[in-house]
Amino acid sequence: MTSPDGVILLIEDNLDDEKLTLRALKKNRISNAVVVARDGQEALDWLFATGVYEGRAGGLPQIVLLDLQLPKISGLDVLRRIRADATTRLLPVVILTSSREDGDRLQGYSLGTNSYVRKPVDFVEFVEAVRQLGLYWLVLNEPPPTRG
């Protein structure tokens, strides 16, 4: 269940959640590289190689795990920017959040998220969710063709 070349971009401001997510990935033996961005701006900078990530090499991640409530630029705005830019337009994005609000779900799908997963409080369920996400997005799912 590894995909060494596929990078996971985890956009998460909560350090506990970051740690739990990484633990869940580890428990599921998902060994892909994980890049953590702790706010929306940092995530966009990393994706578009701007700001602190100016000149970064290495292309796009295989999957983006996006929290909604983020400092500076909100998760939904990050998604909007990802879908607005031609290079990231087809990038698989999974919203991974505590919210189950109708409004968030509606907006998330309207803006073109590929999945919407609510983080369970029960860590066992969380690990299972991460396992399924990893299996699906990193193994089963064929990513869109990379542009020249």
């Binding site: 959640d17 959040t97 189950r100 609000e101 409080v121």
Partner: protein, 580 residues
């Protein structure tokens, strides 16, 4: 009436005039007749005088013949002269009547003959002859005298005859005249009495009609006073302007009060005398619009400067027809809506505040959902990490504590989820549409069955349970009710859950644990539980949520149960429930 009176007067005057004319003519005729009677009397008198004076002449002649006294001759001459005078008079009187004139001629001849004889006698006496002794002469004298007497007698007879006729005729005329005068007087009386009666009747009628007029005036006065009182006591401002210059001709007390101006200072003035130019122009434009359009103009809101500051009015302007149909006046009725407007403003502010509070609550709910769950995940996740990675360093009690930490975190997550569901029930949109309650129930039951496939639960859900309700809320309600039924009958190896309709209520019936009806009133309160969590899990929010859903539909919810025999929850979704 006037024509009748005039005709009566003309007729009365005519009758009286005719009577007067007839009377005058009759009287004239009577006068003529009486004159003729008198004339005849005179004729008789004069003829008799002729006889008398002839007698006197004869006696004087005889005296002279006997005595020769010269003085007697003087008497004789006087008598002869009188006779001649009388004869002339007779001739004059009867000149108009031929036979009498002729006869008077004969009398004159006879008298002349007689006188001639007497003169001869006298002459003879003077010459000394006495004729008294001459029988022939005496016979001649006697014949002449007889002849005179005969003619006089004949004339007198005729005249007396004439007199009688004339007197008789005059008596007839007098009687006729008297009758006529009587009739005339009677007619005069009759007309006078008629006029008197007519006048008296007319007077009585006039007095009666004056009394009636007085009553009518009084009634009119009272009606006017009543209308005045109505207008004066109207709690809304009322004013009337004349149509040409739009000056106030009438205002009521409410108008004085509202404007803070006494009516003496309002009447005769126009809007420009009383209000700022801009307002006056507005008022008059609306006035003209009502008057020109012959229609009521509704001004829902207009500001007006009063002595006590600006007020807001809702005014209706009504054209009032004058003489000849064109509007003569403008009636205005103004309601002071200042307070209502203030209240509306306050209401709007309150609504805005409530909406702000609602938005705040929404963002609070969002925080609850998002921010409160995140730490719980940490608590659970790291507790599990401890259990997994450091179990060998913990004793049994430590492991138990960590398990308790985890279940407490899980329970708190459920509470948060249920509270959010409860708040969503109240916050969310509400739209009724046709809902098949049975179909929703089947979906819910399928979910329960797939989550708990080992349970042996028979579900009885009839077809055709249709209603008008918000489908999302019906789903939440049935999730809770059927979920409860599922949960509280879990200790039975096999059980039955029924959905149905009774009267206008739906019900969900289970044959599970049931509850003590003593605590039925607590069923629907938030966090109210009738069973220990260890016995049946749950947050105590589900039924509170169902009750809110039912109330949002205007319905009601109640339950019947017996411990150990199951429970039935009834609910309506509409005051006028319709189940097709």
């Amino acid at each position: 009436m006037r024509i009748f009176e005039t005709s009566a007067l003309v007729i009365a005057l005519g009758i009286l005039s005719i009577v007067a004319v007839i009377d005058a003519r009759t009287t004239d005729a009577l006068v003529v007749t009486l004159r003729w009677v008198e004339h005849t009397h005179r004729v008789i008198e004069v003829i008799e005088d002729v006889g008398t004076s002839m007698g006197a002449a004869r006696r004087a002649r005889r005296a002279f013949l006997v005595t020769g006294d010269v003085e007697t001759l003087t008497e004789y001459a006087t008598a002869i002269a009188a006779t001649d005078a009388r004869l002339d008079e007779v001739r004059d009187l009867v000149r108009d009547r031929a036979p009498e004139t002729e006869r008077a001629g004969h009398l004159g001849v006879a008298v002349a003959a007689r006188i001639a004889l007497m003169d001869a006698d006298i002459a003879a006496r003077k010459s000394g002859l006495s004729l008294l002794t001459d029988p022939a002469a005496m016979q001649r004298s006697s014949d002449a005298a007889a002849r005179v007497d005969s003619i006089v007698g004949a004339m007198l007879h005729d005249e007396r005859q004439l007199l009688r006729e004339r007197e008789s005729a005059s008596e007839g005329r007098v009687a006729a005249t008297r009758n006529l005068l009587t009739v005339g007087a009677a007619l005069g009386f009759a007309i006078l009495i008629g006029a008197f009666l007519g006048l008296r009747h007319e007077n009585a009628r006039r007095r009666a009609s004056e009394a009636e007029l007085g009553e009518r005036r009084e009634a009119l006065r009272q009606a006017n006073a009543f209308l005045d009182s109505v207008i004066e006591n109207l709690p809304t401002m009322l004013f009337i302007k004349e149509a040409s210059e739009l000056r106030f001709t009438r205002v009521n007390r409410a108008a004085e009060r509202l404007l803070g101006v006494a009516r003496e200072d309002l009447l005769g003035k126009n809007d420009f005398d009383l209000f700022p130019t801009e307002q006056a122009e507005f008022f008059q434009a609306k006035d003209r619009s009502a008057l020109d359009g012959h229609a009521v103009v509704d001004v829902p809101e207009e500001p007006i400067e009063t002595k006590d500051g600006r007020r807001w009015l809702h005014t209706m302007k009504v054209p009032i027809p004058g003489d000849g149909g064109a509007p003569g006046f403008l009636l205005g009725i103004s309601e002071d809506i200042t307070e209502r407007k203030r209240a509306a403003t306050e209401l709007r502010r309150a609504k805005e505040a409530a909406e702000a509070a609602s938005r705040e609550l929404e963002s609070f709910s969002y925080s609850v959902a998002h921010d409160l769950r995140a730490p719980l995940r940490g608590i659970d996740g790291f507790s599990l990490a401890l259990l997994e990675d450091y179990q060998d360093q913990l004793d049994a009690e430590g492991v138990d504590y960590l398990h308790r930490v985890r279940s407490a975190a899980k329970r708190m997550a459920e509470l948060i989820d249920d509270l959010l569901a409860l708040s969503r029930v109240t916050r969310g949109n509400f739209a009724r549409e046709r809902v098949d309650v049975g179909a929703v129930a089947r979906t819910v039951a399928d979910q329960l069955r797939s989550a708990d496939p080992d349970r042996d639960v028979a579900l009885v859900i009839p077809d055709g349970l249709l209603t008008s309700a918000d489908p999302r809320l019906v789903r939440v309600a049935l999730e809770n009710l059927i979920g409860n039924a599922w949960k509280f009958s879990a200790k039975k190896p096999s059980t039955l859950i029924e959905l149905g309709a009774h009267d206008d209520a739906f019900y969900v019936r289970d044959h599970g644990a049931g509850f003590d009806m003593t605590y039925a009133s607590k069923l629907f309160g938030v966090f109210q539980r009738l069973h220990a969590v260890s016995e049946f899990d749950g947050t105590g929010i589900g039924l509170a949520t169902v009750q809110r859903i039912v109330h949002r539909h205007g319905g009601r919810i109640w339950a019947e149960s017996k411990v150990g025999e199951g429970a039935t929850f009834f609910f309506t979704l509409n005051e006028m429930e319709s189940k097709a």
